[in-house]
Symmetry: C4
Subunit: 202 residues, 4 copies
């Protein structure tokens, strides 16, 4: 099976998920309280931070997904199903993003919300690494060009290293949900900047 | 007419429907009741179960749709209209999924909600089988390669067998909505696992 | 400019609009009133009728859009802008559909809601006919193959005839909103059935 | 890397964002107040004005994006990331549009809402111009055909000129939010009309 429609469907799901993030940004109801719009919009900063973090993270996953699939000459059913699992993790991110932003400053629940947020990023990264591993180690005959084993293992190693910050971010959630958000945002910025681009093309 | 744009439009609708499922996952309102976020998130488990079940089911329908259309060299108007009917059934699934998850533990309405949920999967499977039947029996001249009649009947037979669990799940709804959900989830897992992949490539 | 990306973007907007219709189907809140779920779901029938009518109508517009653009070898900026106007009319249909379904049985506002609903279909058909007219009469040199003037006028004539039922449906809204809905639904069914397919390939 | 999938993903995000605008159009709740539906629908005119303005503006950005990317023979990672930034700005527009429309006639907050609205258009235009500048000045070797430096600077000049009305619209927000909306709408109409098409193909 050609990879065209796999790409097209994945592009669709990722594009919808990334754009649905905006629904988390609720317009303050006029006259709801006595505070100014400036105050209410400012009060929403966790939503903006979480929006930008999730948007860039999903965007980078899309770029990496593009590289991963472009190595394939053909896809088989297992690849499609692992890909579906990855899309499931991406599809649930608008919920995790909203959860994180809503509870970041609450006295109760903020640790759990942060753990779910970073945990979903971790799950997404694991799904990505699993698919990458399956393609590079098990289905090397479906690759468009022959990558040496060393090169394949190097790509996988970078995928695995990418999991570490999300493990740390999830583990830190009970200590400080702010630290969790900062780490997730830092990962996004790191991969977005030129310095991080080598490591993320996996 | 080429099948490219038929695939592109179908991919779009299916990708949007599968991603809109996340809107059913509502973030608990902070301070709404005296329960912890952990309790409230745990209480939402029917939403997670229904989300995953519907996501995987729609994903598998997409994979099977891919196989079905890839056999076609050309599409005609009847194929497009039957395909539209299939998309209509898929498009309504976010509603059915939310209905099922919302009423699963209610004392009133849970049987009807489960029957609607499984019934929509059944309707989707019937629409899929009808389109497949139309393509394989009536429009065999539009196929890209000549499949023997025996092979075509075998594919259709598998499509028809795929309806049975949804008939059972719908019929069991008045007895136990949980059984309905479990059957629908089991169907998704069965087709997702390698063991089920032979039978679902129809 | 090639028509590929025009098709791809149009497919995207139409696919999202058609799938967003499902958001109009709200799950009844458990325990909100003393009525059974069966009653509450049955009470929503205008939503189902409007959902199916709008879904099929948008689907048929998509099919016809496909035929219209497939005649073009190239697109220019005017075609893109008229196409954008058509997409604007399609994009607003989820709102019109919800308005119609919400007010169909209200004692006040039902005529206006029905007029808006049919009026939006009329606007969409006018936008479609305008784009078709522009392509066939003004930009005939961009067509992939030379259609004789007679053939082009025949296609446009069918586009124009397609406006009539929506004019009637809009005009009848003050008399009976039900008649408006029935006419819109009948148009969708007519074009979906084989008997109507000749006239709609415009 | 080929530009196909960059286009496909961008088309997806832009198509979803433009279509999500319709969710800002809320159907008036029947019987909520004693006013007629006609009054309530008429009262929503800022929503319609903002909807049409944003829809056409996003549509024109899409057309211009099409021209920009079609000049490229290949994309690299920096182009993808600048493109992601542009998509982020486009993706947030449904929020800005709703904010503007909700507060346009409020006694408090309308200036800020208008400033945010025009400011988001400005940010989008800056992101667009930055990507264009990067492509035309830094990555000229990736262009499909050799454009002379003069031609490239002319294209960039038009991009830069396109920022001016949004700077003015943002600056005028404290004076009159209506003026802000009118300028944004006028920009959309200007580029949509044939007279503006020369200047916007950048």
């Amino acid at each position: 099976m050609s990879t065209n429609r796999l790409e097209s469907f994945s592009d669709g799901v990722i594009a919808v998920a990334i754009t649905l993030l905006v629904l988390n940004l609720a317009v303050p109801i006029p006259g709801f309280d006595h505070r100014s719009l400036a105050h209410n919009l400012g009060h929403m900063w966790p939503q903006y931070a979480a929006y930008v973090t999730s948007f860039i993270t999903i965007g980078i996953i899309w770029i990496n997904h593009h590289y991963m699939i472009s190595r394939l000459a053909q896809a088989d059913r297992t690849i499609m199903l692992l890909n579906l699992l990855l899309l499931l993790c991406i599809g649930v991110l608008p919920f995790g993003t909203n959860l994180m932003a809503t509870y970041l400053r609450e006295s109760h629940g903020q640790s759990l919300a942060a753990a779910v947020y970073a945990g979903l990023f971790l799950a997404m990264s694991i799904a990505f690494a699993s698919l990458n591993r399956h393609i590079l180690l098990r289905k090397a005959h479906l690759l468009g060009q022959d990558l040496g084993e060393e090169r394949r293992r190097a790509i996988l190693g970078r995928s695995a290293i990418g999991l570490i910050p999300y493990v740390v971010a999830t583990a830190l959630a009970p200590v400080s949900p702010y630290a969790t958000l900062i780490i997730c945002a830092a990962v996004a910025v790191f991969y977005a900047l030129p310095i991080g681009s080598g490591g993320s093309q996996s």
